[in-house]
């Protein structure tokens, strides 16, 4: 399998790996399943203005899954929740030049954003 330069870069130097300590300002989304070969955990920290000021991830999955989650942590930072929810798998797949068999990785990353936002909103109703 040949990987694009951008996938390789994110895989070699993943951005924003880690865990944010949980409190009311933090939304956590975990999607995927070990038996399917990928699990993504995405956390967002939202400030008083409703802007995502930090994001961290941990991913069990192939290089494309790692790159997709690394990329979205960069993209969601500085965005409002509604803006972050606009990030679609097609943007991710295009940015990383994912081949067709790896599109599901970008879908999973989109799902992870949605799950993190929903978790934050549920906690802050």
């Amino acid at each position: 399998m040949a990987y694009s330069e951008k996938v390789l870069d994110h895989y070699e130097n993943p951005r924003n790996v880690g865990v944010i300590e949980d409190d009311l300002s933090v939304g956590t989304g975990m999607v995927g399943a070990p038996a399917c070969g990928d699990v993504m955990k995405l956390q967002i920290k939202v400030n008083n203005e409703g802007i995502i000021e930090d994001a961290k991830f941990k991913t069990y999955g192939c290089g494309s899954a790692i790159a997709s989650s690394s990329l979205v942590t960069e993209w969601v930072k500085g965005k409002s929740l509604d803006e972050a929810a606009e990030i679609k798998n097609t943007h991710i797949a295009e940015e990383l030049a994912l081949p067709p068999v790896k599109i599901h990785c970008s879908v999973l990353a989109e799902d992870a954003i949605a799950a993190a936002i929903e978790n934050y909103r549920t906690k802050n109703q």
Partner: protein
Amino acid sequence: MSNVKLPIYLDYSATTPIDPRVAAKMAECLTIEGNFGNPASRSHSFGWTAEAAVDQARQQIADLINADPREIVWTSGATESDNLAIKGAAHFYRKKGNHIITLKTEHKAVLDTCRQLEREGFDVTYLEPLENGLVTVDMLKAVTTDQTILISVMHVNNEIGVIQDIEAIGEFARENHIIFHVDAAQSTGKVDIDLGKLKVDLMSFCAHKTYGPKGVGALYVRRKPRVRLEAQMHGGGHERGMRSGTLATHQIVGMGECFRIANEEMATENERIRMLRDRLYNGLKDMEEVYVNGDMEHRIAGNLNISFNFVEGESLIMALRDLAVSSGSACTSASLEPSYVLRALGRNDELAHSSIRFTIGRFTTVEEIDYTVKLVSAAVEKLRDLSPLWDMYKDGVDLNSVEWVAH
């Protein structure tokens, strides 16, 4: 560490490079100056010299396995040998019964051949081995019927390197008048094969796992008691009618020479390879959540098949780009297909996905093994730092109790 040439080849069970001594012998059988004749030409010396070279190679095969050279049929490789043995025996003995027994962990050359026979109306039992990859005579006995005409069990498994008890299975098959076929593609030069003692009727070989060329193999067909086969390839009646086609002198000479070398050097070679394998294993085994696949005792010296829990297989292969190794998961498909061999041992999908097969051989060095240990340890550590499953495991979460949001 720095003067290791990359990538490091640790995939000797996929194929081996040709030993230079073998290549030299093969090169003598190609050009006008060399031994290029058709071994079947009876009317001139070109044919006679070619035939003599083929006869010598036949003797070299026979010597390694303690058989009679007249029991050797040349083929294009182990796949063809498996096809000829299984289809040939099933077709010939069809009047006696229609039941065949084999293992779920066999090579596709055996499994797909059996599938074809099922389409022709045969009944095939695919036995699941024990968790360690081995099968016992009692397991075979339990599924044998009065219709059973053929048992096919591989000698050495290509993925996990375990060695089946061919001797005991042979005794059982002979007592019950069942033809016994053994795929020995992975065992020449690694395990002693004494067909004077083993009650094996048909045995498949190839050259390219034993430092010989690809595209040549042999089938051992026992003469006493005589085993009959229906030919699968028809033509000029070569190989006593069992396999027609002009013999490929250069390939056959290469196979003979590589088996000769195996016969002479296997004792010392296996000792050295075992030392390297143990060095690799010892370098990796102290990491947490590392599992060896297949029995460690009944196993060839050069195989280490190991799963790294909580690390995804494809990302691991990506991290190990400087190593030529095999993985338990197919990286090219969207639906990750874990190794059917590891599944048959009862390994869960995650462990099957995260498995790596290291196979060590004649040209592997201590430096390469030490480099490999460092590379693999660092890759596993890095990927676990990235893995949410690893964190959950460390926090004592039982991953089987989690409700996953599968997509």
